[in-house]
């Protein structure tokens, strides 16, 4: 078939003539299948309007099931029916046109003005809706026709499909659909554009249905239940109802039944056709299935998340995909994904057999359905054959050039890997397959941050690429190593987390000495066999001089040879901001990291060096040495960290929260009691009216503010005291300081003092009148009575403390629940608004029509993932580079 190009889309109404013309069959019988099991002639499941039974042929086009797309049929309605979808529009038109001559109730002048306005809007390709709205509003105001001087009556819209005419004496008359249609027919073609319609495509009277199109059976297929019984589609059920009532209506009318009965049937037919279009119309009861389930009719098929648009067209289920739980594997490369063998055997890649790969594929085929095998072959005569236990050897022998083989997923194949919610482009990246035993996807922990994944039961999806173009594109644009730099903030998003940071921190902190054996043990598995010169020797017990290497030295082995870099780690205490001088190389915390010619001269490796989101070293390597080197470094660093932390082990227990007795006393006396005392002092001052209000605040607010400040300080003080007793040898302190996990605040709360609980940034004030709990006196303002928890988690909370802590904790829970749903919806709206914007080659951002949105992308034309933290250039770095060169020279 020749490819055709869509030139335009036209929207309009179907005219009865058109419906009859496109109909392949008249539908008269409300039944579907006859007693012989074949579809009934002129029935609803009609062989002229499409086939759904295998083996039968379409009587219209001769196509078999799957070939014939289906054809429309039609039902001749005994009386016209209002289309619910247009009911409001019909009302507006009735109110805006003359009841005798049908012209729009506008004077010549106004008419011309509005027509001109609509014409202008169309020229601008803008919406005519606003002008049309004005037309209806103005025309409905006229109660005398300017053309035939007919006095107009008021029209009342009786929802959902009734119209009532009211005259001056308040006499009401119901307009039947026939009357309505008559009136709409009278509207002259010249007046139709005033309603924003084109009379050739949409005459108003076509909004009243006289002929009902019947969708092809392919659009409402029946399903055969296990019992052999047929179950018809909801639409078919509805059509059956319509035909039945339609017939009854006709019979009754022909028999000359009384007007009352006719009107009742008419109403009933209207109900069935209305619910056929939309079964969720307010004010009418929904049509139900025999079981009581509301029927899913036209509108319900299209609307909402699972509807045709959002459910079937914007997103749908796909083949060549797999989903399972993820689990960590630090031994695989960062751009690999471990795929369970069972999945690899199910997912296939299509390969064309050529002279070059003939033998290799023959080997694959010989294995049959054993893992790196094949599931199907397509022979050169285009016949598809399933590979089975019995035929695989035969097929391998027959295999020839020109065949196509659907082979299993193998090591090295490229696949897309995704975790929902897909909030940014890094949520889908290309990984290389590594087939493994087990039932989970294996993922290197360093790529968790971009996916925001953890291993507490998260599931992820995998998609196997099917064409060479797709594979090339994935490799070039979506590969993990291509996406180490985040397009959001211009820093690496892939990097060390948790134990990786801890491991390297332990390795490089202070001067750790390693004998040759231990050093090699750590490095040989990352393929570094040259340890370099030892840092020195120490005397062993048998007084032999044993050479040793420092941890810093070993870390230097994984850095690129010529690398130079200086920065301050997360352990830095910002001496400069406090007005003190930075001691640089002599920093007692080893915060100043210096890398010279690929050696770690001083400083400790922490989150700032190799962590995801920060990762200065990763950033530098990516910029200067490229993505492959960066990938290698992340891999090496991760393995070195694991090898190092494995030597000593690393754990945290309840006893790590212990503080010596004198520390406990100090915390209680100096921090907690002191603060509580000060709070009481403040309350006394307030009661004695000695307190002075802060600017812009009431006396009461001032008091609360000062108390909050005082108690906030109490917790910090308690933390500071605790810190004095917990050194870097404490695992929690080490993790907090190095940025691996947790914070000093967490530790403070565990070991020293939980502190003030708050709701909406204030102390807890809710509960009973004047007090939070019955345990306190009304009007008690003391710290304890409003949610100050003086205990630590280790010590355990008192009953009142526990309760008030739960009050504060609830807010945090509610907050996260509300935030995620809100930000999800906000994201959806943003995506819908921005999805078609594109940065063109000239740097402008444009939408589809070519209209400029931004003259320069982001005002500066910079791609953040290729910038220094979002800036065009990092001037500080350049200056320090030049200064250093000058000093050196």
């Amino acid at each position: 078939m020749r490819l055709k190009r869509i030139k335009g889309i036209k929207f309009g109404l179907l005219s009865p003539k058109e419906i009859r013309k496109m109909s392949a069959s008249k539908i008269i019988t409300p039944d579907t299948y006859g007693e012989d099991g074949f579809p009934i002639e002129l029935g609803l499941v009609n062989q002229r309007i499409g086939v759904i039974d295998p083996g039968l042929r379409c009587k219209t086009c001769g196509g078999r099931m799957g070939e014939c797309p289906g054809h429309f049929g039609h039902i001749e309605l005994a009386a016209p029916i209002i289309h619910v979808g247009y009911a409001k529009m019909i009302y507006r038109m009735l109110a805006a046109t003359c009841r005798r001559c049908g012209k729009v109730l506008l004077g010549e002048e106004a008419r011309a003005k509005f027509l001109d306005g609509i014409e202008q809007q169309k020229e601008k390709q803008a919406d005519v809706g606003d002008v049309v709205k004005l037309v209806f509003k103005e025309a409905a105001k006229n109660d005398v026709c300017p053309f035939c001087d007919e006095i107009q009556k008021r029209i009342k819209y009786d929802k959902p499909t009734g119209y009532i005419e009211i005259d001056k004496e308040d006499k009401e008359r119901r307009l039947m659909p026939t009357d309505v249609r008559e009136r709409l027919e009278k509207i002259p073609d010249e007046d139709i554009p005033l309603f924003g319609m084109d009379p050739k495509n949409a005459r108003p009277e076509w909004m009243i249905i006289t002929v009902l199109p019947v969708p092809p059976v392919t659009a409402r297929p029946s399903i055969t239940l296990e019992s052999g019984q047929r179950s018809e589609d909801d639409l078919t059920h509805k059509l059956v109802d319509i035909i039945r009532i339609n017939q009854r209506f006709m019979e009754n009318r022909d028999a000359g039944a009384p007007q009352l009965i006719i009107e009742d049937l008419w109403e009933l037919l209207q109900y069935h056709i209305s619910t056929y279009f939309n079964n969720e119309i307010p004010s009418i009861p929904p049509a139900r299935h025999r079981s009581g389930r509301p029927l899913k009719t036209m509108t319900q098929r299209l609307k909402g998340k699972e509807g045709r648009f959002r459910g079937s067209l914007s997103g749908k289920r796909v083949n060549f995909s797999a989903r399972t739980v993820i689990s960590p594997d630090p031994e695989i490369e960062i751009d690999e994904v471990g795929v369970p063998k069972d999945i690899a055997k199910e997912l296939t890649i299509n390969v064309n057999v050529t002279e070059r790969n003939l033998e290799a594929i023959r080997e694959t085929l010989k294995r049959g359905s054993e893992h790196p095998g094949a599931n199907y072959v397509r022979r050169s005569d285009d016949k598809k054959v399933k590979v089975t236990e019995t035929n695989h050897e035969l097929l391998a022998e027959e295999l020839g050039v020109g065949w196509k083989v659907e082979r299993h997923l193998q090591d090295g194949d490229i696949v897309l890997f995704n975790r929902q919610p897909s909030l940014h482009r890094l949520s889908i990246m290309a990984h290389y397959v590594r087939v493994m035993p087990g039932r989970t996807f294996r993922l290197n922990p360093t790529v968790c941050p971009p996916y925001n994944a953890d291993y507490d039961g998260d599931e992820m999806n995998m998609h196997v690429l099917q064409t060479e173009e797709a594979r090339a594109e994935a490799k070039i644009l979506m590969a993990v190593k291509r996406n180490i730099m985040s397009p959001r903030f211009g820093r690496p998003i892939i990097g060390g987390i948790h134990d990786y940071i801890t491991g390297l921190f332990i390795l490089t902190w202070g001067e750790k000495r390693f004998e040759k054996e231990k050093a090699q043990d750590m490095l040989h598995r990352i393929n570094i066999h040259d340890l370099g010169e030892p840092a020195g020797t120490f005397e062993s017990s048998s007084s032999i001089q044993v050479p040793y290497w420092t941890g810093k030295q070993l870390f230097g082995r994984i850095l690129p040879k010529q690398m130079d870099l200086q920065f301050r780690g997360v352990v830095c205490e910002k001496c400069i901001e406090r007005g003190e001088k930075c001691k640089k190389e002599n920093c007692p915390r080893e915060a100043y990291v210096v890398i010279k010619e690929g050696n770690l001269v001083c400083g400790v490796i922490d989150e700032m060096a190799i962590g995801s989101f920060k990762g200065k070293i990763i950033e530098q390597i990516f910029r200067l040495y490229g993505e492959d080197e960066a990938k290698k470094f992340i891999n090496d660093a991760a393995r070195l960290a694991i090898n190092c932390i494995k030597q000593s082990g690393f754990s945290f227990g309840i006893s790590d929260e212990d503080i010596p007795k004198e520390g406990k006393v100090q915390i209680r006396e100096e921090a907690v009691y002191a603060a509580e005392h000060k709070v009481e002092e403040l309350i006394r001052a307030y009661d004695a009216e000695e307190l002075e209000a802060l600017p812009g605040r009431s006396l009461e607010e001032t008091l609360e503010l000062l108390i909050m400040q005082e108690l906030g300080r109490a917790r910090d003080d308690a933390g500071d005291i605790a810190e004095r007793y917990l050194g870097i040898e404490n695992a929690a302190v080490l993790m907090a300081k190095s940025g691996a996990r947790g914070s000093m605040l967490n530790l403070t709360q565990m070991a020293a003092c939980v502190g003030q609980q708050s709701v909406r940034g204030e102390r807890i004030n809710r509960g009973y009148q004047g007090r939070t709990l019955p345990h306190f006196k009304s009007g008690d303002r003391r710290a304890e009575a409003h949610g100050f928890v003086r205990a630590s988690f280790k010590d355990g909370l008192t009953a009142t403390e526990y309760f008030l802590h739960a009050v504060g904790g609830r807010e945090a829970l509610v907050d996260t629940a509300v935030r995620t749903s809100q930000s999800g919806y906000f994201q959806r709206r943003l995506i819908n608004a921005l999805q078609d914007l594109e940065v063109k080659n000239d740097g402008t951002v444009r939408e589809t029509r070519g209209t400029v949105v931004q003259f320069k992308y982001g005002d500066d034309g910079v791609d953040p993932s290729k910038s220094e933290c979002g800036k065009v250039v990092d001037i500080d770095e350049i200056i320090s580079d030049i200064v250093e060169e000058d000093v050196g020279a």
């Binding site: 601008k124 029509r849 209209t851 400029v852 003259f855 320069k856 005002d859």
Partner: protein
Amino acid sequence: MKKETLSILGHELVPEHILMDESEVKELLDKYKIKRVQLPKIKVSDPAINGLGAKVGDVVEITRQSRTAGKALSFRLIIE
């Protein structure tokens, strides 16, 4: 009594709007290879346009302070 109107143009939060003459506009359109209607739009009733004596179909140049680029230029077509 004459109604006094306040000009907002001098305010620091209002970016500078300058009316472009026809040759400048042509140069701009040629530079980006666009038609006049493909420019971003601004209503003639916009307070920033009011004092310029501009009419529908004119183009203004807007100089904004930008966090990323310091100063950023933008152009808008005046519409009804």
